[in-house]
């Protein structure tokens, strides 16, 4: 199939992160992660739980974009007012998010770039729920643009999420639930399966080389490439299309390239 887009390939690859997670809240923030969680629920992992993007738990994932307010069918309720009690601080969640920076330890930053904490050069959102998410439940990441600005050399400018950096771990703390799973980018799929949780490349998207990925990364990667990242099949593509009727995914990766450049 030559007309699969790179965004669709990424959605399919991201959905694998939610396989065999059990009855947990699957949260995908942003179009690609959200479609991925929904695709996982509608294919290999119906046991996943998710919200409508607001506070109702739905068994039928809600599509992206404009729709009627009451289109969702609520099967349960999970408002922010009990989100920490029920989902985050009990570890019953797996979130896939897109921080602004990530480093070789899996430390992530969504808060600020450059300058000082008193006067950052660029203020972003703030740490949001990243510190709690990362110490309590599994997390995965999607990056639409794999560059050294995202995959930084050294450490992120502000550590908003717990990684595997031993120097950052206050002795006596309980880090047993820290679990960074998958990193999907526009170039490849990576994980933290190397020695001391070092980042490895486990599959390359069609036409991408390991050297290209290394070039776009600010730290050393381990080559554990087992093959080419799998393309979604007709069934998955149809589900993705039904979950994204306004084709919002077309804007997820710059210029919306195809997954495989036609020969």
């Amino acid at each position: 199939m030559t007309d699969v887009t790179l965004a669709e390939l990424c959605i399919f690859a991201c959905s694998e992160a939610f396989r065999n997670n059990g009855e947990i809240i699957a949260t995908g923030v942003g179009p690609v992660p959200r479609l991925a969680a929904s695709l996982a629920k509608l294919t290999h992992s119906p046991e996943l739980m998710m919200t409508d993007g607001e506070c109702y738990l739905v068994e039928q994932p809600v599509p992206l974009g404009p729709r009627k307010y009451d289109d969702r069918k609520a099967a349960g309720y999970l408002p922010f007012s009990r989100f920490f009690d029920a989902a985050v601080w009990t570890g019953r969640r797996h979130a896939m998010v897109t921080p602004t920076q990530i480093d070789r330890f899996g430390q992530i930053n969504l808060s600020q770039l450059g300058g000082t904490h008193q006067q950052p050069k660029t203020q972003m959102l703030g740490v949001r729920g990243f510190p709690g998410n990362t110490i309590y439940h599994p997390n995965s990441f999607f990056f639409p643009s794999h560059t050294t600005r995202v995959f930084v050399a050294g450490e992120v400018d502000m550590v908003s999420g717990v990684g595997y950096n031993p120097a950052k771990r206050v002795p006596g703390g309980n880090y047993s639930a820290v679990s960074l799973r998958s990193i999907v980018t526009n170039l490849c799929v990576m994980d933290f399966g190397g020695p001391d949780n070092a980042v490895r490349v486990v599959s390359l998207h069609p036409g991408v080389t390991f050297a290209q990925v290394q070039e776009a990364t600010g730290f050393d990667l381990i080559d554990a490439v087992a093959g080419e990242t799998a393309l979604p099949g007709a069934e998955e593509l149809a589900i993705i299309a039904s979950l994204d009727p306004h084709n919002i995914r077309a804007g997820a990766i710059k210029d919306n390239p195809l997954a495989r450049i036609p020969a």
């Binding site: 409508d52 993007g53 607001e54 506070c55 109702y56 404009p66 729709r67 307010y69 408002p79 922010f80 007012s81 920490f84 985050v88 601080w89 808060s111 600020q112 300058g115 000082t116 904490h117 008193q118 006067q119 950052p120 050069k121 660029t122 203020q123 972003m124 959102l125 703030g126 740490v127 949001r128 729920g129 990243f130 510190p131 709690g132 990362t134 110490i135 309590y136 502000m158 550590v159 908003s160 999420g161 717990v162 990684g163 950096n165 950052k168 771990r169 206050v170 002795p171 006596g172 703390g173 309980n174 880090y175 820290v178």
Partner: protein, 292 residues
């Protein structure tokens, strides 16, 4: 006094310079914006603001009211980066205590329970503890675990916007999610609410909806009736957020981004004046509820 009705100006008259003020709602949702606008019309200064921040925080920063901000994020959702908050931060204009969203509500709960802190794992392994001067404690039990001692976020006052209240402060809050409004109220020495609908005795009108009473009236010190009082934030089920207004507010922050030159539009001399600039109550009532 059991009759807690006040004017917005009387409520703001209860606040003073240097106070720690909690603001309910979440980002662009359920914000007591009319009361925030009343603060913006006042001479109050040097405030410590504690909020899951949206345009409330942005406006107070832009107006130079904020000495210190306690926050986990400041965002307008569809416009992820709050423009006036960014300007204040990038100018180094405010002190901050940056927290995780969960730690934040934990700090409100510590204050509500009159505890100095509550222990949590959250924050370990990140920069938060060092930047915020947060200390650790060790479990006295066999596990000996080291935990962050999240300090109580004690509020001198909290502001909330609710769907309905009676004059004794029996409030009802509807909508799919009421966030941490009840904990802002319990963490505060005084809580002032604005409401979409004011009734005399709640039990005479809505006895069958008592489950919407998210916080007990002992925690409510003042009540004021301000329909559309959350605009431009959302107030389900009454109205959605006004993304056009947020867009205009965001555009106004671009160069030169002088708050004094644009504040009349976003604050107004009074609420009627303010609302008229956005099409009046009818236009607000017609704003569709947001879809996520």
């Amino acid at each position: 006094m059991l009759d807690k009705r006040m004017t917005p100006a009387e409520i703001v008259g209860q606040l003073s310079d240097g106070m720690t003020l909690g603001i309910g709602g979440w980002g662009p949702r359920r914000k007591p914006m009319a009361l925030v606008r009343e603060v913006l019309r006042s001479d109050l200064k040097d405030l410590t603001i504690v909020a899951y921040g949206g345009a409330d925080v942005g406006m107070l920063c832009a107006a130079g009211k904020v000495k210190k901000l306690v926050f986990a994020f400041v965002s307008l959702d569809a416009i992820p980066l709050e423009p006036w908050f960014r300007k204040a931060r990038e100018a180094g204009q405010i002190e901050v205590l940056e927290l995780d969203e969960g730690m934040f509500q934990w700090g409100l709960k510590a204050a509500a329970f009159q505890l100095p802190f509550l222990p949590t794992r959250v924050g370990l392994g990140t920069d938060l503890a060092e930047l915020g001067g947060l200390k650790t404690v060790q479990s006295p039990y066999a596990d000996g675990e080291t935990l962050i001692a999240m300090p109580a976020l004690k509020l001198d006052a909290a502001l909330l916007h609710v769907n309905r209240s009676d004059w004794r402060g029996n409030i009802h809050a509807f909508g799919p999610d009421v966030y941490y409004d009840e904990w802002f109220a319990r963490a505060a020495a005084k809580t002032y609410v604005s409401c979409e609908e004011l009734v005399d005795k709640m039990e005479d009108h809505y006895a069958d909806q008592a489950q919407a009473n998210i916080v007990e009236r002992a925690f409510i010190s003042g009540v004021t009736h301000i329909p559309c009082g959350a605009h431009p934030s959302s107030m389900p089920p009454a109205y959605g957020w006004d993304m056009k207004a947020f867009k205009a507010y965001t555009d106004a922050a671009k160069d030169p981004g002088d708050w004094n030159a644009v504040k009349d539009r976003f604050v107004g001399a009074n609420e009627a004046d303010y609302l008229a600039g956005f099409g009046g109550k009818e236009a607000v009532a017609a704003l569709p509820l947001p879809i996520f």
